[in-house]
């Protein structure tokens, strides 16, 4: 197994862990944490391909990861604000108890 394949396997496992958490956990915050883990797994893939790719001096993978980290920060802020707003309405952060779209 080459080092690149090691990185890809680690990021695949990280993605699977994040997906399992986002799909199975009942708490909305944990679902958001799972999404963050999946984003990070994708970032690790970008960095690994950038480092082992043919033209690392172009810094393309690194730029994508920098922008992706910024987008992930915005996503986390909006997601957690939504969870807090929903908690204020339903008095719970449990995804199974949020059944109504209309207040």
């Amino acid at each position: 197994m080459t080092p690149l394949q090691g990185c890809l396997l680690v990021s695949a496992l990280l993605f699977a862990i994040g997906l399992a958490g986002a799909v199975t956990r009942r708490n909305a915050i944990l679902a958001l944490v799972g999404i963050e883990l999946m984003l990070n797994a994708a970032n690790l893939n970008f960095i690994a391909f950038w480092r082992y790719g043919p033209h690392p001096e172009a810094l393309t993978g690194m730029m994508v990861v920098i922008f992706s980290i910024a987008i992930a920060a915005a996503e986390a802020a909006v997601g957690l604000a939504l969870i807090i707003a929903i908690y204020r309405h339903y008095k719970t952060a449990n995804l199974d108890e949020m059944k109504n779209l209309k207040g």
Binding site: M1, T2, P3, L4, Q5, G6, C7, L8, L9, V10, A12, L13, L14, F15, A16, I17, G18, L19, A20, G21, V23, T24, R25, R26, N27, I29, L30, L32, V33, G34, E36, L37, N40, N43, L44, I47, W50, R51, Y52, G53, P56, E57, L59, M62, M63, I66, F67, I69, A70, A72, A73, A74, A76, A77, V78, L80, A81, I84, A93, L95
Partner: protein
């Protein structure tokens, strides 16, 4: 694969699995911090110093704090005594296992993956700044706009938007002043919003 890579990868994956499976949400958030710091160490292993430190600043510094705040604000810091997994959790685990098998199979069997590391590129902060100001200046501006809009939106979403209670003196006062003096309508609106925060 070097020994440090294997150790960091195991720590990262174990912490990620703990973050997704522990019962207490505060423990989950702390495991998430370990997992994100491990990822930053992996970036440093791959010669991406800037991204590694940005990861520590943004994720370990800001996102983890945000998550802990959300855990405490939604009062889910106590260990729950009902089930922590949704009813169809077996399907979810199976789907993610299939996803991992597919990704792992693709990673192990792809032809033409580069075998060894090319010499380390010069990824200094100066180079990154040059690129951000020349070739990637439009994405940089768009990201700045997106971050501003997202943060303002987050504040507005999380702001308490219920009107002041009928008994509160401030609302009544503003209401009567609006009736008497129509030019103060703007004051009434701002006063109501301000009272809502």
């Amino acid at each position: 694969m070097s020994l440090p890579f294997i150790i960091i990868a195991f720590v990262t994956l174990f912490a990620a699995a703990a973050a997704m499976s522990l019962r207490n949400l505060v423990h989950c958030a702390l495991s998430l911090v370990v997992a994100l710091a491990g990822l930053a160490a992996l970036y440093l292993q791959l010669d991406a110093q800037f991204v590694g430190f940005a990861q520590i600043l943004v994720y370990v510094g800001a996102v983890a704090i945000l998550i802990v705040f959300a855990v405490l604000l939604t009062r889910s810091d106590a260990t729950p005594n009902q089930a922590i997994l949704a009813p169809g959790w077996i399907v979810g685990i199976a789907v993610s296992a299939v996803v991992f098998a597919t990704l792992g199979w693709a990673a192990l069997n792809s032809p033409g993956l580069p075998k060894q590391m090319p010499p380390a590129p010069e990824a200094t902060v100066k180079n990154i700044g040059d690129l951000l100001m020349t070739r990637y200046v439009l994405p940089l501006e768009v990201i700045g706009l997106l971050l501003t809009a997202a943060l303002i939106g987050a504040v507005i979403i999380a702001m308490r938007d219920d009107a002041p209670k009928p008994g509160s003196s401030r609302g009544n006062e503003a209401h009567s002043s609006m009736k008497l003096e129509p030019p103060h309508v703007g004051c009434y609106g701002s006063g109501k919003n301000g009272g809502g925060i």
